[in-house]
Structure formats: C-alpha cells, structure tokens
C-alpha cells in the first residue's frame, strides 16, 4: 500500500494551481451551504446530520487538494476531537438538563425555566440546539474518520 502511494505521488505533481484555486474558491461556499442546511432544517429538507456531512466534506476536499498537513493546520486534531465531544455533550447534556429541570428526559419545554418563553416555542428552539450539536459532532467525526483511513492512523500525510 505504501509503495502504490509513493508511485501516485511521483506521477502527480505535488501542487496544481488550477486544483488549488478551484478548491479555495469552493470550500467557503460549501461550508456556507452546510451551515444553511443545519440552520434551515426546520423549514426545508436538512438538519444536523446532512449539514454536518456537508461541512465535513468541505474539509475533506481541502485535505484532498492541499494534503493532510494543510488540512490539519486548518482544523487541528485537538480541535476536531473537542468538537466531536462537544457535539455529543450538547445533545446528551440538553437531554439531561431537561430531566434535571423537572421535565422528562429530552422534554425541551422544561427549558422554559431557564429562559421563560412559551413551552411550544422552546420545543422548536430545543430541536435547533440539538441539531447544532449533531452538526458539530457529525462534521468532526467524518473528518476524523477520513484522516485515520487516509493515513492508516499515522495522521502524517496520506492521500
């Protein structure tokens, strides 16, 4: 596997202006679209999982064009794992918080004790908060899985 990787590297030049410029232009738009898919999940097809995957794809595209070290400069390994944990903690934390505030597990209307708006609106906002957590977690995990797979766990260079 290592040999074929080196062969590939010899055949393709390390840097390619067209590729890099295109990717540089595309990545912000892809990320914007990913954020749109997350926050607009209430009104159109979308939500945390879909938006998270789109966001993750933007960073994977970045890593494909610029190499893994550059993508780790863009989003460091520590930040990535922190994001994954934070995403999971937001969801489970909100769920537990609802229970601690006197509601049932995941009963978003109990959050009205923190910020008194009407319980039904809190359900809508609760779904939104949770979707943000899902988006963060899915993005970070997708990037992390890609890094591990592409470099065989060494996280040095890879594809």
């Amino acid at each position: 596997m290592r040999i074929s990787l080196q062969e590939t590297r010899e055949r393709i030049p390390q840097r390619d202006t067209i590729l890099e410029t295109t990717v540089r232009l595309m990545v912000p738009f892809i990320q914007l679209y990913g954020l749109y898919v997350i926050v607009h999940g209430h009104y159109s097809p979308g939500g945390g999982f879909q938006g998270g995957v789109v966001l993750g794809a933007s960073i994977i595209l970045f890593a494909l064009a610029f190499g893994m070290p550059a993508s780790k400069h863009y989003l460091s390994e520590g930040t990535d794992i922190l994001l994954a944990n934070a995403g999971a903690l937001i969801f489970t934390g909100i769920a537990t918080l609802c229970a601690l505030l006197g509601g049932m597990f995941l009963d978003y209307s109990a959050l009205a004790k923190i910020l008194p708006i009407d319980p039904i609106s809190w359900r809508s906002h609760g779904i939104f908060l949770v979707e943000v957590g899902v988006g963060m977690g899915v993005m970070a995990i997708m990037v992390s899985i890609y890094w591990d797979m592409a470099s065989g766990g060494r996280l040095d260079e890879g594809l």
Partner: protein
C-alpha cells in the same frame, strides 16, 4: 459453502416475499402505517412543536431519544476507528 449460502439466501428471499402477500398495495393511503400513528404527526406536529418540516419535528422531538443515540453511534464509530488505527506497536 457456496451452495449452502445460495440456499440460505433463496430461503430468506422466499420467506420475505411470502410475507408481503398480506400487505397493502404500494402507495395506498389507507394502509396501516399510513393511517395509524403517523396521522397525528402530520396533523399535530406543527401545532405541538412549531416546526413546519415534520421529518425534523419527529426526528428532533417525538423520536429525539433515537436521534441522540444515533449521534452516539457515529461518535463511537469515530472513536473505534481512531482506536483501531492509531497504534504504534505493530507496524
């Protein structure tokens, strides 16, 4: 091995097709899944959660418990991949 696998596959497929005989035709609005609990989701979800996208409402609230563990599933997959591949002992 291979004939046995083929036999098991055929039996499974035949059993599954045998079971479909009792189902309603495709796209029937009166079939049990379309008329039982899902009716309330369509009629009440917007009133109860203020979310016009019913899929999001059901995913995030009515079945939010599933979604929470869905996130935990993908999180554990990421951690498992990390644990499996990032090792230095046997290169």
């Amino acid at each position: 091995m291979k004939p046995l696998a083929l036999l098991a596959t055929l039996i499974t497929g035949a059993l599954l097709l045998y079971g479909t005989a009792d189902f309603a035709a495709w796209g029937d609005p009166q079939s049990p899944p379309n008329r039982n609990i899902s009716v309330r989701y369509v009629e009440e979800a917007v009133k109860e959660t203020h979310v016009p996208n019913i899929v999001t409402a059901v995913l995030g609230d009515y079945r939010g418990y599933d979604t929470m563990f869905e996130l935990v599933v993908i999180y554990s997959a990421g951690m498992a991949v990390m644990g499996i591949l990032r090792r230095r002992d046997d290169q």
